[in-house]
Subunit: 162 residues, 2 copies
């Protein structure tokens, strides 16, 4: 898919079919995360593919909106050794746009209880979960939520100054 | 450009030619920022195109690495009304990948002195500059810095748990 089309068309979505994500699609999603730039190229982010059911079930209660992870065909935790949330956002967006270019929908899910998350994943003490991402093919049988559309261009973009 | 190719090939770069960014390319970059998803779709991010020389020169000293903005053919501030740095990262990555799909290089530049930045841009008190982005066609006459390459895939990606 064309880059601009993928970027513009990506919407966060939480309803997926049970169709598995093929290995090559998963590989592209992980590569997209790996290749994201970081502050001073510090590369503090790591990716944990949550394909261990026990670890995933121990992790999910550490976040308020993490129920989606338990049902998604693919979930990934972005963990970081003190890296910025801005850089975690760059990693996440790369992964979600790459997924959408392969028709895979996604949604970020934050973790609040870092102590529980560290224990669930066996993380070193100086790591935290920056964000979790759920991925899956969109379940078109579930009606889309009535969501607020994006603000108009002229409301988002200012010229020169505020 | 194919989405995956754009995502994987994008590198942060600070050396640009003086070639202006065409209006339609600038429009795609701004649209990419506007369409980024946000936490609970709160859409707290706004974009300020820094095409007012006075405002840009007043803003640049508010950050330590913002000299690039002054030379770049296009600079944009992502400002936010209390939105998360994670969401600013999503906006920024969308814009930078969209730019790269049009062969435009880019680099994020953080602002440390928010009071100075607010004054430079005439921002409301409850807004801050999440990140600035510089854009330009890469200057191939400047040798690329010896930069640390991305970590190997198997060092970035863990399976199941840490």
């Amino acid at each position: 898919m064309d880059a601009y089309t993928a970027i513009i068309g990506k919407r966060d979505r939480r309803e997926y079919t049970s169709q598995p994500i093929p290995d090559e699609v998963r590989h592209r999603i992980l590569q997209a995360g790996r290749m994201a730039g970081s502050s001073s190229n510090n590369q503090l982010g790591r990716l944990i593919v949550l394909n261990d059911r026990g670890a995933l079930e121990a992790l999910a209660p550490a976040g308020r909106g993490t129920a989606t992870m338990l049902k998604a065909p693919l979930s990934v935790a972005i963990v970081t050794q003190g890296g910025s949330a801005f850089d975690v956002g760059r990693i996440a967006q790369n992964m979600m746009v790459a997924a959408w270019a392969d028709s895979v929908a996604s949604c970020p899910q934050g973790v609040q209880d870092q102590e529980m998350a560290r224990k669930a994943l066996g993380l070193p003490n100086d790591y935290s979960v920056g964000m979790c991402l759920a991925f899956g093919y969109p379940d078109e049988s579930v009606p889309k939520r009535e969501s607020r559309p994006r603000l108009p261009f002229d409301e988002v973009v200012h010229w020169g100054r505020w």
